[in-house]
Symmetry: none
Subunit: 226 residues, 4 copies
DNA sequence: AATGAATGAGTGTTCATTCAT
DNA sequence: CATGAATGAACACTCATTCAT
């Protein structure tokens, strides 16, 4: 079984040293500057292909400085993934709340989700993460969870509520959530991931795809069609 | 713009040299042996992480021998991807032919597809390819196409036939094909890709997932529900 | 047609990067130390025969350090040749100036020239350069020029002056300069170059050879003999 | 002191094996074919830069075959140099014989010599040999001797005869021979060797250079000028 | 705290040479 | 006798990391 580096099991430095090391009075702005430079390099070249030298250059920092803020290449990568993971999937929670009719909620949520995960930047992250999962399974899993917990799970909860309210006839909300998510990007996301399509989808296309997803979903699980 | 190495644009050696170089009387068994060793290494470590030394060791071949059969690391990788791409997606064409009722066809096809692309081996390939797409876009695109052309396209044709026969009410067969495919692995494949789930799904799970996919699909596009 | 690497066309790094890269605060002493080690290796083995590993060992520097100071093997070689070229032929300019009678000037100049270019060290350089001229024609030409411009040309000017003063009857000073130079090392230099003679010529021999050269030259071009 | 491989001390295989090995019934035509291919490669790349693979390709022979005819790279090189050495300097002996007046003899000889050793092909050989002399001193010495013995020595003998006949006033015929030879290519050969001039000299130039050489020589050593 | 010169093990690749066919 | 696949040591060069300043 492939065994990822133990450090990937945690976003913090080994032994919880985060506190000690980073409390020492380091400059969070410089830290961000380094992460920014590292992102460019990691996204373009992948974990193995990225060069610490290049990261220093891109970040405008010296080698020594970089190694003050991050233990090693892996530590830097893990920190970067943690930061981006949160940034990308921030704000999804709110989308399924409020008073709108179910179909509107689904549409709003689906559009935001689809457009987000098909963005060049996010696609690059997904490729980068996928490429390293074999050796850092935890890191990939947490990346996935960050998305799932803010989409799949929220959606799941919504569906249960709608079922309870008698507005949906959905035997397995868990599965239905997953199905809806896949439907929103059907035919787009996978082509993007594998480079078959190299540009961000136009808003029209997202809209059409999500509209169809909602239609299919409601045809399958809507109460009136039962 | 990402610029793939030109060699990734073609599975053959540059200038069609394949014939001259590989017809020379090289041992196809040894070639396979090398590819086998290379596969282990590339799948575990990715393109950049893989070491030619390690590949030689894994294949039980000397460095010099390897370089008789393959020009360089990239050539080896491209050849390997080409081989696997064909091997993985062989035989999908037949699944949508024959006299079975539509739902049975979809089920048979969906089960084969879902179980194939969620297999550990295929998942590893997808991760490896995804990880290198940024620098070898053509290679990723061709990998995607190999799958698409044997699944999506075949399915697409089937749906058109069914629509023509009045048995389906599908406004956009293209999209519907993609939707069905995503439905079959909803909630499974993506979790597998990102390492959230580390074992092959049980046949039951595949069956249930595909059954639900067929149900949703027919609910959305079946004639009786129109 | 032989095609020299473009870098050999210039002593500086490509794009005049010399300044940026080498001004960065690198240690000139270490640079010299590397050049010293490289010289030993290049002179003994030639450009192709020299090993960067061996150069590092000889210079007492690590591989990485060497590659901080020099881009690659060629860059190192070119820099070394440039340095030596200047060092070997420094100070020749002065020898033909002053108030001495022509024959004394020729003698002084001839002795210095002959003893210089028959020295083991210079002979080794000439062999090394000659051996690589086919692939780096510019480098050889510049090495030759460094010698020519400081010997041939200066001598040429002197002869013109002497002719103008009516003290020489030399129809083609250009040719006469070349002839005098060849006469000073006649029978010695070529034998040294090809290893027929393996030790530096004794001062007596140089003196005799130059004396004869002056005699022949004056017999041919001196006014009294006209 | 650099010590050349002992094999360079002799043109024959070590231990005089030449006879046994080459008597075995090998094809002299194939041997020549190999030497021809090897020449191209050695002249272009030098001894170290030359690749046995490339030589095989250029010669149209397999590796195995090559190693039947020649022990190793060095053996091949030595044999090649021996062959060329003889070929280049063949026929010089005759040039100083016959009834012509001295100056005509010198001119005829000088022209043939000058045009020969300034030829592209011979210049390439001289460079190649010079480049390897440090590690194979014997080989260089023999190359030099082949030229010297057929030029310098013959000329030397002629000068002695002429002196004896009272037609020359040459105190040191040995030196005078060397001087004449250098005079014939003054300003040309060295520039060719170091790549300062990249094309064969025109016949006019050779003629003028030799004419001047004869003039200078006769002015210095001719009886009438005594 | 910050630098960037220094390290040496590591990389992918080529080599002269051997030997089973 | 001829072949060219096979070898593995050597090649030029890069890397993540350290540490004197």
């Amino acid at each position: 079984m492939p065994q990822g580096d133990s450090r990937t099991d945690s976003d913090t430095c080994p032994g919880g040293r985060v506190c000690r090391r980073h409390a020492a009075g380091e400059d969070p702005a410089k830290r961000d500057q380094i992460l920014q430079g590292a992102m460019k390099e990691f996204l373009e070249k992948g974990f193995d292909g990225a060069s610490m030298n290049e990261i220093c250059r891109a970040a405008g920092v010296s080698k020594g400085t970089l190694y003050v803020y991050f233990e090693d290449k892996l530590d830097l990568f893990v920190a970067l993934v943690a930061r981006e993971r949160e940034a990308i999937f921030a704000g999804f929670d709110a989308l399924l709340k409020g008073d709108l009719p179910l179909e509107d909620k689904l549409t709003r949520f689906g559009q935001r989700l689809a457009s987000t995960i098909c963005t060049d930047h996010v696609i690059q992250w997904q490729r980068t993460i996928a490429g390293i999962v074999d050796r850092m399974p935890e890191l990939g899993a947490r990346f996935y969870e960050a998305a799932a917990q803010r989409t799949h799970d929220d959606l799941n909860a919504l569906l249960r509520r709608e079922r309870a309210a008698g507005r949906l006839d959905v035997p397995d909300p868990e599965r239905a959530s997953a199905q809806f998510i896949e439907l929103t990007v059907a035919g787009i996301w996978r082509a993007r991931l594998f480079g078959k399509r190299r540009t961000d989808p136009e808003p029209d296309e997202i809209e059409a795809s999500v509209a169809s997803a909602v239609q299919v979903f409601m045809a399958a699980y809507g109460r009136t069609s039962g």
